[in-house]
Subunit: 125 residues, 2 copies
DNA sequence: CGTCTAGTTTGACAATTATCTAAACAGCGT
DNA sequence: ACGCTGTTTAGATAATTGTCAAACTAGACG
């Protein structure tokens, strides 16, 4: 039963990396989010769900887009859910998923280098 | 909606997740970046490097902030480097690291849900 | 040359993860 | 109640990953 987990919303950090160094705790929390994104299947799943923002997506619409088995999709959805990136609800036969914008925004902001000064750090590798 | 901020030139992908679903290839590419961020030590390393944006950081300044061994730090720096998130150069005795803003910006934008009209649905039971 | 310091590479090991098949569970329509 | 479809759980396995100690490389300084 895919019960929706409580969203541990952007409690950790909203400050870009460039502004301030992370503490150990917030790093652990945020890394959990990025780790969930660090798989091609999960990233595409999230992408498919997010591209219907406001709306929801049924699992049956997702599985068709992949070659991996159903249980594998289910597993990846669980990882995304436990990372707080998506929410879900069963309605009748189907289970619907949606994104959690706040969580995505928190991760996005952390990487937002343009938020701080120093627009051109043109150091070449 | 109008894009609010001038965007650092991102090499691979500029479109937020909410706008368009990812292809298999770009998902694999981007997932590599997120996977590199999906570890607390690496995230803190990046944070320490990025918080001196424009400047560089010597490895010796990084190791002190961690309890893990030197080789482990070195390993994580390599992962970040191979993900294209940081660059490095040896000068004399020391090795200096810096962030690659464009790469961070690309990942940040991908998660930028505010770029599209998204009702902040928040937490629903 | 020898040696010291800074950092990386190698090799090993335990822990985690991605994936599958098989089974269980949850609703719907007879 | 029974079967059918959609979805998750359980168990197993192969691959990946995080970590360390030991060995190695690169440069500085006598």
């Amino acid at each position: 039963m895919p019960n929706q987990l409580p969203v541990l919303a952007a409690d950790a950090c909203c400050t870009p990396l460039v502004t301030e160094a992370l503490t150990e705790e917030s790093a652990a929390d945020l890394a959990r989010g990025f780790k969930a994104l660090g798989d091609p299947v999960r990233l595409r799943l999230l992408s498919l769900i997010a591209s219907r923002a406001g709306d929801e997506v049924c699992v049956c619409d997702l599985t068709d887009a992949f070659t991996v088995s159903g249980p594998t999709i289910s597993h990846h959805l669980k990882v995304l859910r436990e990372a707080g990136l998506i929410g879900c609800q069963r309605r009748g036969t189907w289970v619907y998923y949606w994104i959690v914008p706040a969580k995505l925004a928190a991760l996005s902001q952390l990487l937002d280098v343009s938020a701080a000064a120093t627009p051109t750090t043109g150091i070449s590798a």
